[in-house]
Amino acid sequence: MKKSKVFWAYVAIAIIVYAVVQFSMSSGMIGSYYSNMLIIMCVNIILAVSLHLIIGITGQFSIGHAGFMAVGAYISAIVTMKLDLPFIVAIVAAGVVALFAGLLIGIPTLRLRGDYLAIATLGFAEIIRIVIVNIDYVGGAAGMTVSRQTTWTYAFFAMVITIIVIANYTKSRHGRACIAIREDEIAADAMGINTTYYKVVAFAIGAFFAGVAGAIFSHQLFFIQPTSFGFLKSFDILIYVVLGGLGSLSGSVLAAVLLTIVSTYLAEFPETRMIIYSLVLILVMLYRPTGLLGTKEITQFFKFGKKGGKNV
Amino acid sequence: MLQVNGINVFYGNIQALHDVSIHVEEGEIVTLIGANGAGKSTLLKTLSGLLKPKTGEIMYLGKPIHGKAAQTIVKDGMSHVPEGRRVFANLTVEENLELGAYIRSDKAGIAKDMAHVYELFPRLLERKKQLSGTLSGGEQQMLAMGRALMAKPKILLMDEPSMGLAPLMVKAIFDIIKMVNAEGTTVLLVEQNAHMALSVASRAYVLETGRIVLSGDAQQLKESDEVRAAYLGGL
């Protein structure tokens, strides 16, 4: 089985990356500033990849991903801080509740297309945020203190699992059904694909991992507030997906990594930071409107012999 | 009237036309036939300015037009009925026709021509206020032709007007082409339906994979074995 060999190769690479970073962190070679950056990077990758499933694969223009993240962040915080349960329980609970939020949002809005869906998802995310603002149990606008429990291990494995699940899903008949919906919904329907079902599934899986990302994020931060999950956060996630190349999983990952680094280094230039950031954004889109990788996966750039084919 | 000298046209790196030369005299109906993907539409688009040739020249009424933008070429009296009709779906039939006369400002003339178009296509008159996107294929084809005529063209470029049309409608369209030609408009006609096309045209070119492979008198071509075999259903 050649395919599974490739799979194990990726797993091996992942374990090596994990081990090297873990060693560098515990030996102090990577300080807490950089380990914070690496963990945030993992969070951003999870967010990007989960939104990639909804937008890049299924073609559903959802721009309120931060809403699911907020659900995950708060649910996990309640589980650890109020209920005193272990962090791992919090992560799972965050994902599951976010998944239900995804269903809640996905089902009624499925009739909507394109820009209408976009504004509806944005609206739902804002509603989630406003609901949190109005719940005093979680501190409302003032926010909620969360103890730091995220470690590199949690962040990294959550990221790896997200990537594996979404990559595997995409490369199956279910993923193809989603791509068919993206390409031509009417034709997909006519070929016997239950388009509603697959759109809901995409929303559910995407929301689940956004919730997980929220849990990892909140437990890295000490403190969460509803303002952290506004539409600008949603736009950030959207930007990863589009900048990386719509439909390209590795593109989303790459963009999340690059932008996390860019954003971190730009902190040195407070006055011009956002100007540079927005210029980078505009220039990349102007000169590479299909994103950094287009619809291709990064592995395809290394395979010179094979042309056209899309199977890994 | 129209003289094309050795044009080469590319889509990105793909060359769609190789060294194509044709000419059309005033008052003629010239037809261009060829298989799917031969480059017929590409040639028409290049003539009307939607595409730019990489090399070669296009002379129209004695002047070069190959560098000009599409919207200015229309003003010189060349109208292009594009493949697949391309009517403005969100506008009514009437508004589509008005847009056909976009470059004109003689109100009386426009009204007269509009009436004339409705005469040619009574179906359009029935559906004057309907959004053109909801018309059927044949109705849209009539509208596309009517719209082009509204510009009062000297030369009409038509890309597969019979595509997807009922036999009766095909006949009607060809009758109209003849009529329009009789009224003084030169016609360059691209067709899959070689049989009909060759019957109305005076001369014809055969395009294959971006190259002109045959040309000559329409009647002669219709009888030539090569054409019969490839384009007329090998009778």
Binding site: S4, A187, D189, M191, T195, K310 | N36, S136, G164, G233
Partner: protein
């Protein structure tokens, strides 16, 4: 004799004020190859859209294999055994030729989402089976050499063929073809006629096709329905249709094709 496969009764639909189709009755028996013709705008494609669930009819009913299917979602209709091609090609452009066919094969496979994510053996078996079956369809249509090509890169004629192959992969009992020969030259049309005849035999299909190419329709159809202004004006054998004065007036014109 043969069984009634599709029974359409008093079918009608209205768009705003426009009665696009009205009072259409049609009976298709198993194994038949039937033509649907009529002037542009007569309502042929609209009829297809109602048969496949894209539009919900405003009046009438559609019964397929003794089961009422009017009002069902398109994917359910397809799963019941009716599949179609489109007047304007609607392939999944960014999927490969093989994947296009696999999508249609989708509802015949059984491996679930969890199995796919966990890469359980049932996933590998299921995907392998889908690939094999899809390749078999591609072979029949001479498309197997293009299997890894993106659908959008195929030449036009091949795209039309791929649409038919894709429709077949959904395992229909009834196949609806909307102007399959549009944009083809006589040579290609001829090949297509042979192909249609072949798949009908091979897969034991019932076929309903819309076409303006009278050579094709008259050449292969056993029976023909004629629509005009949304209403059936005639049905019968090609000979009957050819000489039906109503049809000549509305559609064929005086000089009937050879």
């Amino acid at each position: 004799m043969t069984n009634l496969l599709l029974n359409v009764e008093q079918l009608g639909i209205q768009f705003g004020g426009l009665k696009a189709v009205q009072n259409v009755d049609m009976q298709l028996f198993e194994g038949e190859l039937i033509g649907l013709i009529g002037p542009n705008g007569a309502g042929k494609t609209t009829t297809f859209n109602m048969l496949t669930g894209v539009y919900a009819p405003t009046t009438g009913s559609i019964t397929f294999q003794n089961e009422k299917i009017s009002g069902l979602d398109p994917y359910k209709v397809t799963q019941k055994g009716i599949s179609r091609t489109f007047q304007n090609i609607r392939l999944f452009k960014e999927l490969t030729v093989l994947e296009n066919v696999e999508v249609a094969n989708h509802s015949l496979a059984t491996h679930g989402i969890i199995a796919s994510i966990l890469r359980l053996p049932s996933f590998f078996k299921g995907e392998q089976k889908m690939e094999d079956e899809s390749l078999a369809f591609l072979k029949i249509f001479g498309l197997d050499t293009y299997k890894d090509e993106f659908a959008k890169n195929l030449p036009y004629g091949m795209q039309r063929r791929l649409e038919i192959a894709r429709a077949l992969a959904a395992n229909p009992r009834l196949l609806l073809l909307d102007e399959p020969a549009a944009g083809m030259n006589p040579q290609e049309t001829h090949e297509l006629m042979e192909l249609i005849a072949f798949i009908r035999k091979e897969f034991n299909l019932t076929i309903l096709l819309i076409e303006h190419d009278m050579n094709l329709v008259m050449g292969i159809c056993e029976r023909i329905y004629v629509l005009d202004h949304g209403q059936l004006i005639a049905d019968g054998t090609p000979e009957e249709i050819r000489s039906n004065p109503k049809v000549i007036e509305a559609y064929l014109g005086e000089e009937v094709v050879e």
